[in-house]
Symmetry: C2
Subunit: 171 residues, 2 copies
């Protein structure tokens, strides 16, 4: 194994960005936007948090907290689960990531709308594929129901299960 960048003793808010692995351009772009987003809100996207977010963006599927422990561990200092959970808590708080409760897994948010919007996530029950859709209709209907019931709207994520177009019965 070649020399790998280490996350050991990273320092906080280091001026120089961490070197990263095979991040796609799209991922880089998302990270740049996230950084600007956090800076604007006075939130600190530290190296660990940034790295977790990067992995979530790079992954083609939802990642479990312990997947992240493995991934990060294989690239340097192995972190305790609690460290990952704390990073995830931050990212979710900022609306940069979502927790998929039905799968005990986490995904990067596909848009930087902040934490207070309704997001629908379609989960294929066959292949596990996940796609985030912005549906004003669903958001609106949900808001209406919340209001009718006297509920105060909050950031929320709708996990909707079905079979994706590739896994349908009729294919």
């Amino acid at each position: 194994m070649a020399h790998l960048p280490s996350l050991q003793h990273p320092g906080f808010n280091a001026g120089v960005p961490m070197p990263t692995f095979h991040s796609s351009e799209r991922t880089e772009q998302a990270l740049a936007l996230s950084e600007a987003f956090c800076r604007a809100r006075g939130a600190r996207l530290t190296p660990i948090r940034r790295r977790v977010l990067e992995l979530l963006h790079s992954a083609q599927k939802p990642l479990g907290a312990y997947d992240l422990v493995e991934l990060l561990g294989s690239q340097g200092h192995r972190m305790a689960p609690i460290t990952i959970y704390r990073a995830l808590d931050f990212l979710i708080e900022q609306g940069l990531a979502h927790r998929l409760a039905s799968r005990n897994a986490y995904i990067a948010s596909s848009s930087l709308t902040g934490a207070r919007t309704t997001t629908a996530v379609l989960i294929c029950e066959v292949c596990g594929d996940v796609s985030e859709v912005a549906s004003p209709d669903v958001a609106e209907t949900v808001t209406k129901v919340l209001r009718e019931q006297g509920y105060q709207p909050r950031s929320r994520i709708l996990e909707i299960t079905g079979r994706c177009s590739h896994c349908r019965d009729d294919h």
Copy 2:
């Protein structure tokens, strides 16, 4: 499927003690309906499954699997967690109960519509209060989104987080 009468939801309230050992009339009614429902479908509502369902109906809040282990254990022979999980699997399969993934907890279904409908569950993020609402609008919108995305609709439960009328900011 025959249209079965809907059970009135009690309206879960915060700070209520754990369920009693004596079933309310409402619970008895729900169990009688569930029995008929299962009989009609050739499903076996065994004593264990019936007891779990009874506890879920009696409870004023979602119960965790291990809550059920405790409750059942305190009333007789202590069962292994797997026994509870198997009973829950059955109840969910039949649409008699729902799993709230976001809370790792289970509730009795408030209506006997079977497992293949869209149900919305409102969860108060402050007091943990849960109420199940039948919203044709939400169900319809969700179905539409699924169709637009090429997803094949499936049984699903929407967990919607907010603040209930008692826990709103403006109170």
